[in-house]
């Protein structure tokens, strides 16, 4: 913003002070804390899952299109590369699931203090890991590995 033409020395000093005002440090300055990491992971997994909906769309449309289209879909997601991606998405799903439940609990005003926050965060991490591992154990057990 340009300074007004008739500015006095006082207002230009104010302009200077405004220009050099301290800025709040941005995200990467802070040490990661359980509060911020839990929140950021919820958002990151949410975006990943939103992208995963394209895979759901691909699968449903392939299924409706015929056997050939479905074979392409199944071959891609059954490959090692596809399974690694699906593993990531399964973790994203279960993390977002657990953290979403945590948010619903927090909406009722519970677990808002520091102690409750830590407890809820650790339950979220543990729940996400257990559910992800459990899903893949069931998958490999049913697949006869």
């Amino acid at each position: 913003m340009s300074a007004p033409s008739g500015s006095t020395s006082g207002s230009s000093a104010a302009d200077k002070a405004k220009r050099e005002r301290p800025l709040s440090p941005h995200l990467q300055i802070y040490k990661p804390q359980i509060t911020s990491v839990t929140s950021i992971l919820h958002r990151a997994t949410g975006v990943a899952l939103a992208l995963g909906l394209f895979v759901l769309g691909w699968g449903l449309i392939a299924l409706a299109s015929g056997e050939g289209s479905y074979a392409v879909f199944k071959d891609f997601w059954g490959s090692i590369f596809g399974m690694i991606l699906l593993f990531g998405w399964s973790f994203a799903f279960f993390y977002h699931f657990c953290c979403g439940l945590r948010h619903l609990v927090m909406d009722t005003g519970r677990m808002m203090d520091i102690k409750g926050m830590y407890k809820a965060a650790y339950i979220t991490y543990a729940g996400a890991l257990v559910l992800t591992m459990g899903t893949w154990i069931v998958y490999f057990a049913c697949s006869g590995y």
Partner: protein, 131 residues
């Protein structure tokens, strides 16, 4: 969604002059995010379980599974619920991180149109298999 052409009686004179400000839909967005979160939690577990059991199945078996009314209905509900929830979530992310007003409106519209289009395509695909 902050858009320049929204008008509302609850705006402060300054926000009205700027053309920005409350569109009075904040609580509706918040509430629908919770409603779809609850439905996603239930339907999502059903979906993961279904994928798990059908992952190695042949085309005909998967098709027959989706053609069953219960599965078709649950799948359509899951598509609507998850796509709606995704659009609400992506909207907040876009509003937080995209600071250029024009780009933000384009991205918000793009997300809504893309997910609406693909969501309708998903529902059509399920109906094509099931009916």
């Amino acid at each position: 969604m902050t858009m320049k052409w929204t008008s509302g009686g609850m705006k402060s004179p300054l926000s009205r002059a700027r053309g920005l400000g409350s569109a009075k839909s904040g609580s509706h967005h918040w509430m629908m995010q919770r409603v779809t979160a609850v439905s996603n939690a239930v339907l999502g577990l059903w979906f993961v379980w279904s994928v798990l059991t059908l992952a190695n199945a042949d085309y005909a078996i998967v098709r027959d599974w989706l053609a069953a009314p219960v599965n078709a209905i649950l799948m359509i509900l899951f598509v609507i619920s998850s796509y709606y929830h995704a659009v609400l979530g992506l909207q907040v992310v876009t509003e937080d991180y995209v600071h250029c007003e024009g780009l933000k409106v384009i991205k918000l519209m793009g997300q809504k149109l893309l997910y609406t289009g693909l969501g309708v395509a998903c529902v059509f695909a399920v109906l094509k298999v099931a009916l």
